[in-house]
């Protein structure tokens, strides 16, 4: 099942999108918003699934062409966005470039931060930036949305709470990070609003590419029309999504609609490229002694997409331009 949120007031209006992303049908009579659907997922998802099947079978009258530009992020705002850093290879690399060792515990205890979730950017909306000197970067990731997860749910049971998957552009302001992390309270100003793929999909849409709570497909990133990276999201993922959900739930209940991110996708195989500029700059520092690739400037365009093994886009494309904030 593929779901999206048409732009409509603050929380969007729920639609179902055909598997090939060409057609859509209103679903707001079943649940007005995606959050409403997640709040009662067990009851409402069978109704949504039936309509989704009718849409794919061309067996429904009121369909309309699907346009990602009409969409918000699937959850236009959310009650929780917790971003992990599951590709520990990426973390080690970033540290190596600044001459810092990585604690051994990073291989067994996931990194995760509480992200801002009150206003996500739409998948085709501009990234408004106050100052190029802040060092704006994209981070291409995969994320899951859960239903209610009880406190202390172990990872063996956490996988069944994963109801939807999306792609993410976790926008980061690199030059604000060092001073902010030095204060000891984590990211705040350095992590402004993120954007998500036009469509959220149920895990079954990934077929055999969803295994062991990981997405085994390349995550494709383009910067100004040139491929920047396409590492496989299922490779070198130290913690799978069930482990990330369990980590988040250790000392708290997670409410339905909680979004958990993978962190920047990264493969040890350098030929796969990178999912953020910071990683490429780290590789340049290690290879050349200094970074060559600048962070994002006004007018730069970023896109993030994932195709299945038959070459069909699964989530639609995140496609954004960095613009000055007025």
């Amino acid at each position: 099942m593929k779901l999206a949120s048409l732009k409509h007031r603050r929380d969007g209006k729920l639609i179902l999108v055909s598997r090939d992303l060409t057609q859509a049908v209103d679903a707001s009579d079943i649940a007005l918003t995606l959050q409403d659907a997640l709040d009662e997922w067990d009851k409402l998802s069978p109704l949504l699934q039936a309509r989704y099947e009718a849409l794919n079978d061309n067996n429904i009258g009121e369909r309309f062409p699907f346009n990602p530009a009409d969409c918000e992020s699937p959850l236009p705002r959310a009650f929780q966005w917790a971003d992990g850093s599951a590709y520990v290879n990426h973390v080690e690399l970033v540290r190596k470039a600044r001459g810092a060792d990585m604690p051994e515990s990073f291989w067994t205890d996931p990194l995760m931060y509480q992200g801002v979730s009150d206003k996500f950017i739409g998948p085709r909306e501009n990234i408004e930036l106050c100052d190029e000197a802040w060092g704006c970067d994209f981070e291409a990731e995969v994320a899951v949305i859960t239903d209610d997860v009880a406190m202390a749910t172990p990872s063996e049971k956490a996988g069944s709470h994963i109801k939807l998957l999306m792609l993410v552009n976790d926008v980061s302001l690199r030059n604000l990070i060092p001073s902010e992390l030095a204060k000891g309270f984590g990211f705040f100003q350095s992590k402004p609003a993120s954007s998500f793929s036009p469509v959220a999909v149920t895990p079954d849409e990934l077929g055999e590419s969803w295994q062991e709570n990981k997405v085994h497909l390349p995550l494709e990133v383009f910067l100004n029309g040139e491929q920047f990276g396409a590492p496989n999201a299922g490779v070198d993922m130290t913690f799978d999504f069930a482990e990330l959900v369990a980590h988040a739930a250790k000392s708290r209940h997670l409410g339905a609609g909680t979004i958990i991110g993978s962190g920047t996708v990264s493969n040890l195989d350098r030929s796969k490229g990178s999912c953020c500029i910071a990683e490429r700059r780290m590789l340049e520092i290690l290879d050349l002694g200094s970074p060559k690739t600048p962070f994002l400037l006004y007018g730069d365009k970023v896109s993030i997409e994932m195709h299945d093994k038959e070459g069909r886009s699964i989530f639609g494309k995140i496609d954004q331009e960095v613009v000055p904030y007025r």
Copy 2:
């Protein structure tokens, strides 16, 4: 105006509460939930205000006795909870006790972290704790709720976006903090769900006690029936709420319903006591060489309240017991 949320589904049902906290009236025909009211505050608050005045004038028929135990936190879940640390004296003290200097910049650049907001604890609900060894602590604070705040709003303009005030118990798991902060990404497991006062109030309810974007009244904390502290929230607050809102909005828009916390209230005058156990333990370390007061154990009861100069409770009382999580 005083507002509360009766327990009802996930987001509660909006009611107005009389100034003396004895009577209430349904307001869900104006806005079903407090979030709905905040989403259209300029349009809806005059309607709410008119009914509030009728309630206080005993000029409304359908009122009922107000019972805080029937309430969720005013926002049972929120799209953003950002907690500052505006009483820098407290921060300095905590650092001194562990022999660490505080950077000079802490006096000019607010500390703030992104808190979890998907499921707050009700003001009279138990604090469920998996393990006493986690070092559970309360933190008594004041918080504001904003309407929409545009990115880069300066502090001179941020004060006008403060629509409501509440009290907070920011539950903290002290023994999980050191290893979590050492990872560099800030609090996550160490900051589980917070609870808020039964009632949220508009700033005018504070009269002259709301000045310069600070609440100039003692915040009263009791542990197992004994007063633990009553520092004045308007004293030694290095950053006022307008400055905290502006800090939060530096690189992002803030959505309506954003909650911004003051951090643990603390006065330099030690006779005023403390608003968290950690601070008292720090004072014990400095005075006696080692801490004497244990963190919260199962069965411990915490209450937080604030009275006006005539001795009337403004927000109602947070009153909670720590219980083992089953």
